[in-house]
Every structure is written in C-alpha cells, then in structure tokens.
Symmetry: D2
Subunit: 400 residues, 4 copies
C-alpha cells in the first residue's frame, strides 16, 4: 500500500507546490489539511478544490474557529499572554490547533508522514514539530522548504512546469500570518529596524491617528472567559470577532517590536491584534479587582512562563498543563463587567463592577464610613520593616 | 536641652498644623524639612517662611530634583518599574529620597524624633517608617494624623485658633501627590470603581482625544540612562522634564487602575506619568534590541520584584541592593537611540539603532544575504522537544 | 446569654490556666478544644477531664491524626516542603488543622471569641489568627499570654491560688511542639547559636552515631501519595508512623538551623522529623524519575513559595489553592516504588521503578541498544548557544 | 601554512587516538592541551610526553587547580549550586575552565579548529561548544567520537595499527570524570535504575557505614569565600582539598540520582563530592545567619537558575554575569565561622558565629533580656492576613 503524507495546507503557492513536490520526492500520496482559524480570505471549499487540483488524493478542510477561540485564545486571555510584555502569541496559538488536526487526519488516513511549509529559521517549524512529537511521535516530518531545497524560485518553476492552478505572478512584498487572534507581518524594509512601519502594512486596524468618535463598550467575563458584550451574550468566537471589528476600527492593537526567537536570533515583527489587546487589558483590570494580592503577584510569573512555553512550541507539554491548572484556579472568581473606551489606538478601562470584587469601598474610602482600623498600622510597619532594619544596623556597625 | 523633631513638611494644611500640634504634644522643637522632588507649586522660600511662621525653630528646604532624577527615577527606568504592570511608582520613589533628607537633617539638628503627616491606611506611612528604620532606627516616629487624632476638622480648628498663615477655606476635592516622575490623584467619586475619571482630574497631561499634530523624537540611552533627546545632551532631570512636557502635551501616560496596597486593601488610583511612561516604553524596546534572550526573560522577574519591593517601602533593603546589582549589569549594553512618536495618548517606538545591538540583519533577513544555517533546525527541534515527547509517550502508554 | 470562648487547649499549664483566666477577664464561658495531631503524650480523655476540672463548660477532644496525615502532611510531601531547604513545616502544618477544628467548634457552640496560648514573637500566633481570619473572621481573638500579661509566673500563681489539677513543679527546660510530622525544640542554651545540641534534646530519633544495622525498605507512591511500605498497603497516617519509627531508630531527620521567622527575627531551631525527611527524599527522587524536566524546574519555585506561604500562616489563602492545583497536576504521574536505606542518620535512595518512568534505558545507555540519535546534537548546540554567542561577539566588538 | 587544531587532551585512549585521527581526517597539525583541574592521576609531564608521542606538534599542560578553585568552585559555592537540589556541578564547572584554556591556546598557536572527545548524547559537548561559541566563535569544532565515527572499537584498532603508546587492554567498566570539586561515575549496571551502587564505585569517599571517630572542624568564610579551616588560613584550593580529605574519610558527599540532561533525556548518575557537599552545607547555614530574609528567599531562585545555566553549558553568557553580580552583592556579609561535625556520611553544622550576624539574642530569647516588643504583633497579623481574609469573605458570600 502506498504511504501517505498529511500536509498542512494553506492554499498558497508554497504548500500547493509542496503537494506535488512531496509526492515526487517520496512516492507517497498527499492528503492536504486546511484549517480555518479565522484567517479569512478564500472560501474553504475553494481551497479544498485547489488542493485536489494540485494533486492531493484527499483534501480535508475544517472550520475550527470556535475551537480556536475557546480552546486556544481564551486560555491565552486567562494567562494575559503577552510574550515580551507585547506580543499576544498570534501564530504561536494557531500552530498547536493545526497540529491537532494534522495528527487526527494522519490517524484517520493512516499516514506515516506529515509535512509543513515552514523555513528553518522561524518559530513555527518548532511549534509544528514539537507539537507533532507530543501528539503523534511516530510520524516522520517533511519540511520541503527547509530540508529539500524548495525555494520560492524553484516553487514557481515547479508550478509553471506542472501547470498548477496558482497565480504565481502576484508577489506580495509582505509575509503574513493571520488568524482570529491577530495578524503578523514581515517584510524586507522592516528588516532595517530603524525604519518605521507604513500604513500599508496594516489590515486589521484603521489608522489610530485619524479623527473619529470614541466607542464605549462593556465586556462581561465569567471565570476569566468573556461571555457578553454590551449585555448581549456571545460565544468566545463572537466576542473576539466583535472586538476585532470595534477595536480595529479605532486603531487599537498595533505592535512593532524586536523579538527574541526561539531559534536563537532577534527578529523585527509587526503585529495587529485589536481584539486580543483590548480583551487582555479588560481581563487584567478585572483580575486587579477580583484576585487577591499574593495570588496576583505570583500569577505574573506563571503568566510569563505560560507565554514563553507557548511561544517556544511547548503547548502540549507537562508544564503547560500544570500552569493551566494554576491559572484556571486563579481565574475562578474573575467574573464581572469591564467598561472600556476604544479610541485613537487606546483601549482604556473606565469602570469595573463584580459580585466577586475584593475592592471594599468601606475599607478604601477616606470619607465617612471608613471602617479600616488605622491603629493596626504601627505594629504592622514595625514588624514588616524589622528584617531590613536589623540588616541596616549590622551594616552600620560593620562600617564603623 | 529641648528635644527636637524633624518634620516632613509639604507646606500644606496638615503639616503646617502639625508643627504646632507636635510641639504641644511633645514639648519638643520642630525642624521642618521640605524637599523639592519636582512637584512644582510654590517657591521653596515661601514654603520655608511658612514653616517658620507656623512655629518651626528651623526650616530646611532642598532642591533635590537632580538627585531624585538620577538616583531614584533612573533606577526605576532601568528596572522598567511598573507595579502591577501599570503604575510607575511615582510616590513610592519620592518617599525614600525624603527619608534620606529627613535622616540627614535629624543628625545635623540632633533630633530624637521624626514626624510625617500620613494616615494609617496608605502605603506612604510604611515607606517613611521602613526607610527611617533602615537609615536612622533610633529615631522615634510621630504620625499625628494617624496616631494622635489630628483629623482634617481638628487641623482646621487648630489653624484658626492659632491664627496660622494658611488658607483653610480652599478645600480641593482631590488628594494629590506629585513629583517629577508623575502625579497621583484620589478623590471621593473615584472611590466608586464603576465611575470613570473626568478631565478635571488631570494636570500633567492634555486630553489625548483632542486632535493635534504628532510629535516625533529620538531618545539616546547610555547603559540604560537617558542622556539625550533629539541629539541634544541632557541630564536625567532635563530628559524627564522634556518628556513630561512633550508626552504630556500628547496625553500620554494616564493610568486608571485598582491597585493592591501593602496595607492589605485594594484601592482605586488615577495617575498621570507622561515622561515615565514614554521613557519606559523606549527603554524596554532598547532592551529588546540589546539584551540577550535568557537575560531578558529572567530580568522580567527581577524587575517585577524590584517594583514590589519599592512599592512596599523596602527601598533601603538588602534585596533591593542585590537586585540593583543585577539590573546594573543587565543594563551595561542598553545603549543607543530610540525614535518614538508621541500622539493621541500613545508613545510608540518606530525605530531603534545601537552599536550594542544584538539584532543581526544577516541572520534575520529572508532576503539574499541570509547567513543563518537552516540545516541546524532539525537537530535543535528534536532535542528541544524530546522531554515533552517522552512524557507524551508515557502518558499515551498509561492511558491505554 | 453568656458569651462563649473557644480555647485551643493543649492540656499543659498555660492553656489550663487560660480557662479560668479568660473566664475572669471576659465573663465568658470557655469551651476547650484539644486536637490529637499525633503529638502523643496523655490520653485524650484525661486531657478532656482536666479541661473540665479547670473550669471549662465544655471540652471537645478529637483524634484528627488521619485528617492531619492525609490533608496536611501529604500536601506538604507533594510540595517537598522544606522551609529554607531544611525545615519540614512541622508546627506550621498543624496550626491550620487546629484552626479548622476551632472554627467548627465555635460555630457549633455559638462562640463569639476564640483564644490561643501563643506568645507575641513566634510564628504560631500568625498561623492561628490568619487562619481564623479566613475561616471565621467574625470571631474576636484572645491571646492572654501575649495581650493580657499571663506570664509563666502569673500562670503558676493562678494555678496554685485556684487549686487547679496541674503539676506546676515539673519545669522542663525545653519548649516543645510535636506532632505526627515532627518535633520542634527550643531551649535557653541553644539561644547561643555557637552551642551545639546535646543528645538530651531529642525524642523522636536515636543517636545516629551509634552503630547499628541498616534498615532497607520500599515505599510505594500513587500520584505523590505514599500508599504502601514493603508492599503492604497503608494509610498515609500508617506510612508516616512506620517511617517515624524506622527512620527515627536510625537517627534520620535531625535538623539544627537558624531560621527566618515571619515576625521579623532570626531564631535558632532544632527539629526532628524522621518520617518527613525520609519520605520527602523518596518523593523527590520519584519526581526525578517521573516528572518532565521543564515541569520539574518550575515546580521547584512553586514548592518554595508553597513552603513560605504555609510557614507564613497563609494556608487558607487563594495563592495556596492555586499552587495546590499546580502541584496536584504535577504529581499525577508520581507513582512507583522507591527503595531506600536508612542508616546512621542518612535516608538514601538506592533504587526506583515506575510504570510512569520517563527514564528510558535505550536512550540513556552507552551500551549496545542505544537508540539516541547523536547526529541531532550539533544542530541543537548551535541554536542553543546562539544568543550567548551573538552577545559575546557584540561584547568583543565593543571592547576593541 | 598548515592549519592547526587545538585538542582538549585527557591522556586517555580516546583523545590520544584523536590526535592522529584528526590529523588524518583534516590534514591539520594537532596541538594537545591538558588541564589539571585536580583530577589527580598521572603527572602532567607524562601526559604531555604522551601527546607528543601520539603525534601532537605541540602539547600544552597547565596546572589550573588554583584558578579552578577560586574562579569556578568558589562561585558555585556562593550560589549553593546543586542542580536538582543534589548535584554540585562537578563536570559542568570544569568544562568552561578547559574551554578558556583551549581558546587561549588556539589564539596563541593560531589554530582555526578545536576538538573534543565527547559523545553526542551528553552535556559536556554542549558545555565545550557553547563555551567556545562565546569565547572564540570563529573556531570550527571537531568532535570525532560524535561526528566522524571514532567508536571505542575503532579507536583501539587505530591505536594498535599506529603503535600508539597507550595500554588499550585495561578496560574499566566505569566511565569517570573527576576534578577538585568531585567525581562522576557512570557504568552499565547502574543504567538499571533499580540497582544500587556498590562500594567499588567510589574513590573519593570511604564507606559511611563503617564505624569511625567523628571529625569536628571550623570553617571560616569571608564574603562567602572559605578562607581558613580550624583557624589556619588557606587558599580556596587548600580548603577544598582539606575538606575532600576529611569529609571523604567520613563518607560525606555520595549522591545517587536520576538527572535531567540538557540533551533531552534522563540519566542515572552517581557522584561523590565530599568537600563540595560539606562546604555548601556550611555556607548555606552561614547565609541563614547573615543574609536578610527577603534577600535569602529571592536568592534561592537566583541560585537555582545559576545552577541550571551552568549545567546547561551557558557559563559564558550574559545572564550568568548578571546573576553573579546579584550573588556577589548577596554574599558581601557572609563572613564568619561555622563549626561542623563530619561523621558517618553526614556533614552537620553545630555552631555559627559572625560579626555580621543578623541573629539577635535579645530579640530571639524567651529568657530575661527579651527586648522584642510583643505588642506589635496584633497590628502586624491583622494587616498581614487582610488580603486572604477579604478573599475568604468574598468566597463565603458567593458560596451562599
């Protein structure tokens, strides 16, 4: 029986060519798998047909947007996941989802190999292969772009030679990855890190500098999961779409940074993530209201490690599971409403209310009604500062 | 010989009354100490005279703005210090500076006591007393507002009874603390955390929503210290003042948050810190360019702990000194230029250049000239993902 | 109706006197509550009768040894809890258990107050009161030794005056707290930290220096919980008792250290915890075999924070719950057998076997059968060392 | 001009054969470099002559024991470096020292390549190559055992064919690496992790189970550096040698563990490190006496990361330098005497005294002379427990 390869298929030039390239190289049949993570663009059926036209024996397409929203974006939101305090892990979140579908398809179609179109200097190759190593370690991985010389020029030549139904002439200057949670753009002129991005780079966000009316909204969370906007109950997918639309229209969520790749180099990245940035700002402030201080302090370190792990391709890892258990417990009471103004590139929280609030007006107020017992302070301060005080006395003694 | 009290004097009602209050309560002479940390307002000489007019035997005033900028704000900048990822430690930074001057004055004037005007439910009492415990532990601390019933009403009555030269009628609805690094505002209606701040609350920043031209500038750093703006060499004080002016004019640096106080409660705080917010954004991005990945990852935890310690009043503590040693080493190469656009409440980095850059165009580029050896990836990925892969195989075996 | 006080009753002089002392001071009725955490000593019924004889209106005694073992000692074991890498949290574990019983008794007996016999400079007062603040914050706390001058001399005088059935003459030089998990000893001559402990200090352990035969045993764990010794299924309580006996007979688990108290001072402590020390050593090594590397590295920080929190009296806190969730997930596969030799004060692991082992002979061996692909190494190393290498090149360039 | 290779030369079979093997493979001249890190064994001059006899064009030998003690072992001691809380980093410490000498020799002898004899599944290859990448990145690395098929059998055949002056018949069942800081042993029967080590495995330590007299000594530290034993001033090298001798004679420092290698697998390792284990125990306790609580708590995480970095081959990395700066500051006051008893495999601290002590008898004592103000406690406890209390009240409200 002929061996089978499951290919992560995007519909673009590289992976369309890879169908035939891999078939020629391995003699195997290629099963193309295309996943909708909210990247928009072509109809899935069109993509499916193109895969078949390019020589795939099977082409599987799946609308995984709800799964992506609830199983990948929401956990990132509960972890306030911002790699290097900035990047909401757009591509890093979709890769494990795609890997899961690839592994499922490989089992269903009895594949012995899996293929992806990543290069050898990015993070996504690690996310694909580390994910597959965890979910289906027996699969052999093929990476024609990285390992068997499928450069862009050779891909175009291959497509022309085979008459593949792909327009090889429309060469975008941008390398783009996008999904429900955001959009990543790389391009030649941004590789000079002194150059600023131009407006043409952006697609999810309008120019924040243009004058427009502000937009105010109320986001409701239940245990850290967004469940409604302006009082209307929505699925996580719907919340993120709504926020992408409204925050995007206000220019919220543009990010321009130098980033530490797992593969050892620094790269310059431009992102847009209007919904993600607005939701994380709202969620952080609701945590400020509902999470106890020591838990909140420790959670910052947990959140950071969660983001690093996911960025580093270790979504399916034991540490990730244990951090998830911590975060789920920490988010149990992160319920309530956040009022937010979106305007001019800013997503600003202006109000919060929660049944689970730990803010106590009567303890906090300086007005009448104050029930904080100020006589406690002196004892607290003396004990609190005692270790540093004793150390200071020691230092003064030794300095004499 | 009559005992002496050194009083942290602001020139306002509470501490002006405290001069006489403490004198009556203790029989001691009061030495008033007023420190200019860039809070603006009255001339120091006016403040000095008022202290004398209110009964102080001595009144010491000091322009400590340069010291504050270079010894307190710059270390905070090198630590990217944002308590709860938001608050740049405005008041928390000035208190140890004031404490240092109080301790110096106490030694010079042979004081046995020191006094401050803090209440018993804020952080500042801790910062004063923990700092004094470290620098001059023998001093007895007096806190008339907290410990001897000097309420606002009693203070007004005292001032009127004694004919003190203070206008007790101008009652601001706002409780304000401000200095070079920023401004903190508390007020009754903001104690309802569902209420948003009104424009009247702000003084350091213009309304970000108003249309205006963007402002672009270049900030130069040497080892994490800002040394020039737009190519003009400046002292740290001058840099911060320039940034306060220009970022403030663009509405940058407004913060509205629920915060975890050291004294055990959550409070609602509104801050403005235009210069601090813009400088930290610039410094963080220059770190992205010049600090190696593993150092950058660990430094986030160090920075967080630094911010907590300073917020918690432990500026003069052994851990603070050791964190400073780490941060100084980590900032050694944080040198170069950051170009930044200030506009509409946003401070956005658009370019970076540095002799100490770790960004390597030839490793990062996808264009011709790429010198990254992509054949390394497979070995890296296999070893990198091996522990999680072995664990996954174990889990699958046990699940059967 | 007369108010009621629930008193944490030990049966000793201080708390026996406290019954009458509190009754006189407050006019309330005293309900004595004595909990068996495995401290040994008198029969609970004797203790109960003494409380009644000393004037308690009710006396509640409870054998909580099973609860203590499974709900307090086992979580500490799964966290490898060693405060300052040494102290297995003996007293710190029993206090929240006692607090829970006090709160239950207070609800049952409609008490409005609760009392303990702690002094004002130890950790236990914090553990009692912080625990009660979480479980029953409405209760008023009485601490006669700390707050109302019930010194030892006054307690003896009170006992004699009232004819209480306590032998006030047997004055031990040692202040002791002991339970199932270990034993803490303080005494005057050990307050000179240059003095070493004498053999007389110890009760749970024989002298490790005396010659005797070694004892070998096999401990079985299921998900981090000890379930059998030498193949015989036991409850956690039985495992700990067995280990206390056998490890104690070999002099295992003596600890002598200077410790950082929560109340701001350093103190000198001597502990014995034969079962705890042996079990933690066994559990740690089983984690080495069954827990993936990155999870194991992060768990060390979690374990440390868990130990600090419990030491610091915050057993009933949100962070503790979230850390527990992490630890439970991390221990899911910590199952298998550990063979251990107990001898001469040492508890040494000599063998481990587990269905959930991540140790793979075929990957680890240098003999025939090696299936590790050594060709992966070069790619791994080059990528792994790339960030530090680029930084080094930068440093060399700048140093020229 | 003929190219040159610098070879890390041990004098054993593998690296002796590597001289000719590399010469044949590359046509280059081989410069052998042998470093004495305290591994004992043959005279350095004998080793040097053998290298020449095996075909090296130059043979460099260096007694680096003092350098190793003061520049590598002492920093590890100040970091209390124990990987996985157990392993004192014996081999991990010597590799960067050897790398430094290799890089120096490569510059001196104008080499373009460097070679080591490591396999492809251990940590040492990473330590060599990551170190060289940092110190001399232009060098090409040769690893004949890993990369060009120089198996043991082939090495023996090569040695016999060339008539190399090496006894190829004496085959030890043990793979050993040893130096001043300790000794590592691997061997086939220990690859079954249920097997215990046999006495034959050990060389640095006598059997701890044999009866003998205890040995008591006093170690003096200055800022974390050991400077004297029993009052006699010694260099770090002499202190470690003395401790190896005396602690080794008491069977101190045997370690048997399953360890997480950087290259992705778990391995079983047996170590002996009598001096290291005794010195770290002494140093830790002196830190307990002289380091303030919050600094001590944070330092544990720093120490752990330091050990991981060094284990992982990143000695010459920016993070390592920054951690060193923290640790140096933290150790500034770690000065004083530790009295320790060595006996039966245990190294037990029995006394400590220090001018820099933070232990204050008058604060700690329960006897007369107590100057701790117990009235502070109540205020401290109420504020300390307030966040968890407020959270508990919230939870109770929501649970209704």
């Amino acid at each position: 029986m002929t061996e089978r390869v499951v290919l992560a298929y995007s519909g673009g030039l590289d992976t369309s060519v890879a169908i035939g390239w891999i078939a020629e190289e391995t003699g195997a049949e290629v099963v193309a798998v295309a996943i909708d993570c909210g990247q928009g663009g072509e109809d899935l059926e069109v993509v499916r047909q193109r895969a078949l036209d390019c020589g795939a024996v099977e082409a599987v397409v799946a609308d995984a947007r709800d799964e992506f929203a609830s199983q990948y974006c929401v956990p990132a939101l509960r972890a306030n996941a911002l790699y290097q305090d900035r990047y909401p892990l757009v591509s890093a979140l979709s890769r494990p989802l795609i890997v899961k579908h690839l592994a499922d398809a490989a089992r269903y179609h009895n594949a012995t190999m899996v293929a992806h179109g990543c290069t050898g200097k990015g993070n996504d190759q690690v996310r694909f292969e580390a994910g597959l190593a965890a979910l289906f370690p027996e699969l052999k991985v093929l990476a024609p772009v990285r390992d068997s010389g499928m450069t862009r020029d050779k891909a175009i030549a291959f497509a022309e030679e085979k008459g593949l139904p792909i327009d090889v002439t429309k060469k975008s200057p941008y390398s783009i990855d996008q999904n429900l949670w955001g959009r990543a753009v790389e391009t030649g002129f941004l590789e000079d890190i002194w150059n600023g991005p131009i407006e043409d780079v952006y697609a999810y966000t309008d120019n924040p500098a243009e004058p427009r009316e502000a937009d105010e909204l109320v986001i409701t969370f239940q245990s850290g999961v967004p469940t409604a906007v302006d009082g209307k109950e929505l699925t996580p997918l719907q919340v993120i779409e709504e926020l992408n639309r409204r925050a995007g229209a206000q220019g919220v969520g543009r990010i321009d940074m130098v980033e530490d790749r797992l593969v050892g180099i620094k790269s310059r990245e431009v992102y847009e993530a209007p919904g993600a940035v607005a939701l994380i700002a709202a969620h952080q402030e609701l945590e400020n209201v509902t999470v106890e201080r020591e838990l909140a302090r420790f959670k910052r370190g947990v959140d950071q490690r969660w983001g690093e792990l996911v960025y580093d391709g270790l979504w399916f890892s034991p540490l990730k599971k244990a951090l998830d258990a911590f975060i789920a417990e920490a988010n149990q009471n992160v319920s309530g409403d956040i009022r937010m103004v979106l305007h001019g590139g800013r997503a600003v929280v202006t109000g919060r209310r929660s049944e689970a609030s730990l803010y106590d007006y009567e303890l906090a107020t300086y007005d009448t009604g104050d029930k904080y017992d100020q006589s406690l302070a002196r004892g607290f301060i003396d004990v609190w500062s005692m270790p540093a005080k004793i150390a200071s006395l020691r230092d003064q003694k030794l300095a004499q």
